[in-house]
């Protein structure tokens, strides 16, 4: 024992000191996001609000996004029930992702950076670092759980009971612990820290997508999903504390597995071997384009796979829609009166969501050029006949290509799965899906344009483009539910684009946004071609 965990407490205290700012932002960020929207939901609940929301959220598309509710009649749908229904899954997901990133950054990342080597040279146990990191993460999630419970209760809303509030908090906290457990296992298996982060996030994403499918088809199956042990606790209605026990057991098993794996591996090595590389470069690498493809390949492939999975997950819901429609008179009326089929309505919403996610990849590719510049990776390349024009436009070109392929895969896999799920009753063909997807191409180009602008004039702001993407994503995602004023929702670029197939294609808008985006890229290029390169200063 001593050999393994000696002085873990010292490291634990050190981590709290090192991370205190991060911990505060973490707890305040997720905590307030989880708990502080009670007044906003009280607004929504006024009048017929609860009833309308209940019907809206019975739509399989909505269930696939926010999860199910145990409430069976609209009259039992209280404020608390609605709050847990709409918020818990997302809050749990965020908690998981943050915890997973944190665990990898304190375990495997430190090994890769060579920090562990120094730490291990002192009288520190072999596994003390991992133990300290996981204890810290659990500690933070416990604080988070109490913080959320306390804040929610403090609003004193009728149906937001103390028990429910703390169950809500505990569910989010346990989601974080599950995420930490998964990440700790991946940190042992994978050959590098970036692979560990990637695979942990991939697993979390997969769990989310799988549950979208099982929530719509059969909620009982979601109970086998580790993510389900956090978001299916149904605070304020069923208050199902026992699920948290499963979450606890799962977390414990993950940690035990991780420690067993760590105990028999060398520092800096994983269980998946690293292959021996090439002595000489392949011809395909030997150009700026070849190099950029190579260094972006990992992130491109994983995102493209994620797009396909996403399309398949949402596409598989289409089969259940008709059944759902027949079961609800209100919804049936709603759709028959508007003259739009439920499939078309769903497609237009989900397409916007998916293309929003597709935009992440091109932004990442453009930002990568600055990351490389900042880390001095390009120093020796600047001194060759390679021009800045080449570096810039190759990056932009690759980003546009990734956007085109991303839309193709997302829309194509959605359409393909949807059509096969609907069988004979299908009212749309694959082309309709692809057209609906490429309809949003200007928005993807716009984000590339923004990233290019930042790259040319103020490269440190490249990350802000993600913020704007997140902002417009939220506006679009919740815009329908929250009934925002027109000018406000227009601050998100996608709001300008008509939602096909429900609305008609708008050629002037398509061309205008495309031209603006290309102009942004050109302006970015002007900056890039004449600014000083930064190189870590």
């Amino acid at each position: 024992m001593k050999e393994k965990f000696a002085q873990w407490d010292t490291l634990f205290v050190l981590y709290l000191k090192r991370d205190w700012k991060k911990i505060i932002v973490w707890i305040l960020g997720i905590g307030l996001f989880s708990a502080a929207f009670v007044p906003a939901f009280e607004e929504i609940a006024k009048g017929q609000g609860l009833l309308g929301m209940y019907e809206t959220l019975q739509n399989p598309a909505m269930i696939s996004m926010v999860g199910p509710t145990p409430v069976e009649t609209a009259s039992d749908y209280t404020l608390g029930a609605m709050y847990a229904h709409e918020m818990l899954l997302f809050c749990g997901l965020f908690a998981m992702i943050i915890a997973a990133l944190h665990v990898v950054s304190h375990t495997r990342k430190e090994e890769d950076l060579g920090l562990s080597e120094l730490v291990r040279s002192f009288q520190i146990g072999r596994q003390a670092n991992s133990f300290a990191a996981i204890v810290e993460t659990i500690f933070i999630n416990v604080l988070l759980a109490f913080f959320i419970g306390g804040v929610m209760m403090s609003f004193g809303a009728d149906t937001i009971s103390a028990e429910g509030s703390f169950l809500f908090g505990a569910s989010v906290g346990f989601a974080g612990i599950i995420g930490a457990g998964i990440a700790l296992v991946m940190a042992q298996i994978m050959p590098t820290s970036s692979a560990a982060t990637g695979s942990a996030l991939g697993i979390i994403g997969l769990l989310y997508i799988v549950r979208a499918g099982t929530d719509v088809s059969n909620v009982d199956l979601s109970m086998f999903n580790p993510l389900g042990w956090a978001y299916l606790t149904y605070p304020f209605t069923e208050n199902n504390w026992t699920l948290l026990f499963f979450a606890f057991i799962f977390g414990l098993i993950m940690v035990v597995i991780a420690f067993a794996l760590e105990g028999s591996r060398d520092m800096g090595a994983g269980y998946l071997p690293e292959r021996e590389g090439r002595r000489y470069a392949k011809k395909s690498l030997l150009s700026v384009r070849g190099l950029f493809i190579k260094i972006n390949k990992g992130v491109m492939i994983s995102w493209l796979i994620a797009f396909i999975l996403m399309g398949v997950a949402y596409g598989s819901i289409y089969g259940d829609m008709q059944t759902f429609l027949e079961s609800s008179e209100v919804m049936k009326q709603m759709f028959s009166s508007s003259g739009v089929s439920i499939e078309e309505s769903f497609t237009s919403t989900i397409m916007m969501v998916m293309i929003g996610l597709v935009s992440i990849l091109p932004i990442a590719i453009v930002n990568k050029l600055f990351t490389q510049e900042d880390r001095s990776l390009l120093s020796q390349i600047y001194a060759t006949k390679v021009t800045r024009t080449q570096l810039f436009w190759t990056s932009i070109g690759l980003a546009v290509f990734a956007g085109l392929v991303g839309i193709l895969l997302a829309a194509g896999s959605l359409g393909g799965t949807a059509i096969s799920a609907m069988g004979d009753s299908s009212t749309m063909d694959t082309l309709d899906f692809l057209v609906a997807g490429y309809n949003f191409l200007p928005s993807v180009l716009f984000f590339i344009g923004l990233a290019a602008l930042a790259l040319g004039w103020s490269p440190k702001l490249g990350k802000v483009v993600y913020l704007y993407l997140g902002y417009s994503f939220v506006i679009n995602y919740f815009g329908g539910i929250l009934d925002l004023p027109e000018w406000f929702s227009k601050t998100a670029i996608q709001s300008w684009i008509p939602r096909m197939p429900m609305e008609n294609f708008d050629t002037p808008i398509f061309i205008t946004i495309t031209v603006i985006s290309i102009a942004l890229m050109a302006i970015g290029y002007l900056g890039y071609s004449r600014r000083d390169m930064i190189e870590g200063t």
Partner: protein, 293 residues
């Protein structure tokens, strides 16, 4: 002998920090110019301006008679560069990166590459993230030395290399020099500069404080003399051109101004000299003189 690099009155600031206030020097064909100075003196900034990575605020910087900012691509066809801290893409192997650099530079000698890989004892099949500092440096050096250029710019190229590899590098630089190429060598390893450089430029806080051949620089300074005599060596202390006199029994050490060397010898000869050693100042002495003073 033609002028390859010509830098005049270079100035550059980063925000409020004045990195370069007045830097001027030249590098000619067949010449190794040692560019020395402490950390933060402006060596790398100067080199980045020469490479067109950043732009100067005032002054002129020309390579092959062309402007380093406006005509950087023309210039880049004929130069090789190794930074002091070579950073590499972790998921590519050393061999792949060398090939990439050769290709982006434009050609390069495959045989030369293979022989350098052997001489520097680099394992080209390893992914770059597994390389130590010295091995990353080797990748940069092999890539730069395998191509045929007219000007080589090295920014502390041997940092992290072991002494054996250092001398491999020095041999390669000597070969390049013999073939009439120009070399700008920024280095902290003064013995390396001393061995290779024909001319030395010392920069301090963004200004050139000394420039010239090593001989010229040495001439301006004092030699260190150690003398042991039968008579009282204390008498030497009052001779013209003697400084920093230190005595221990009948042995003394002092700095001697080279132009008074004859007077000093005459005086010494009266004392019954048992030992007389005169050492020229090392580059380190020159360097220290500028930084301590």
């Amino acid at each position: 002998m033609t002028e390859i690099v010509n830098v005049q009155g270079l100035q550059k600031s980063f925000g409020k920090f004045r990195a370069l206030s007045d830097v001027s020097f030249t590098v000619n064909t067949g010449e190794v110019v040692g560019f020395i100075g402490p950390n933060g003196a402006g060596k790398s900034t100067t080199i980045r301006i020469l490479l067109g990575i950043i732009n100067r605020e005032a002054g002129d910087a020309e390579i092959f008679g062309k402007d380093t900012w406006k005509d950087s691509l023309e210039i880049h066809k004929r130069i090789s560069y190794v930074p002091g801290d070579v950073t590499l893409w972790g998921n590519l192997t050393g061999g792949e990166i060398i090939d990439l650099f050769l290709k982006l530079h434009g050609g390069g000698d495959k045989q030369k590459r293979d022989s350098l890989i052997k001489r520097f004892e680099l394992d080209p099949k390893k992914k770059a993230k597994g390389y130590s500092k010295g091995n990353r440096q080797k990748v940069g050096l092999i890539a730069a030395l395998s191509v045929n250029s007219d000007l080589y710019i090295f920014d502390e190229p041997t940092s992290g290399l072991d002494p054996l590899m250092e001398s491999v590098f020095q041999e390669e630089v000597e070969k390049i020099k013999e073939s009439g190429k120009a070399i700008l060598l920024s280095s902290h390893i003064l013995s390396e500069v001393e061995r290779l450089a024909d001319k030395v430029v010392i920069v301090r806080q963004g200004e050139i404080v000394e420039a010239g051949t090593l001989d010229e620089l040495r001439h301006l300074t004092r030699s260190t003399v150690t003398i042991e005599a039968e008579g009282d060596v204390a008498e030497m202390a009052s001779v013209n051109g003697v400084f920093n006199f230190k005595q221990k029994d009948n042995q003394a050490t002092f700095s001697a101004n080279n132009q008074y060397l004859n007077d000093i010898l005459m005086e010494a000869s009266k004392l019954g000299v048992k030992k007389f050693e005169s050492a020229p100042p090392t580059l380190e002495d020159l360097f220290m003189r500028h930084y301590e003073g």
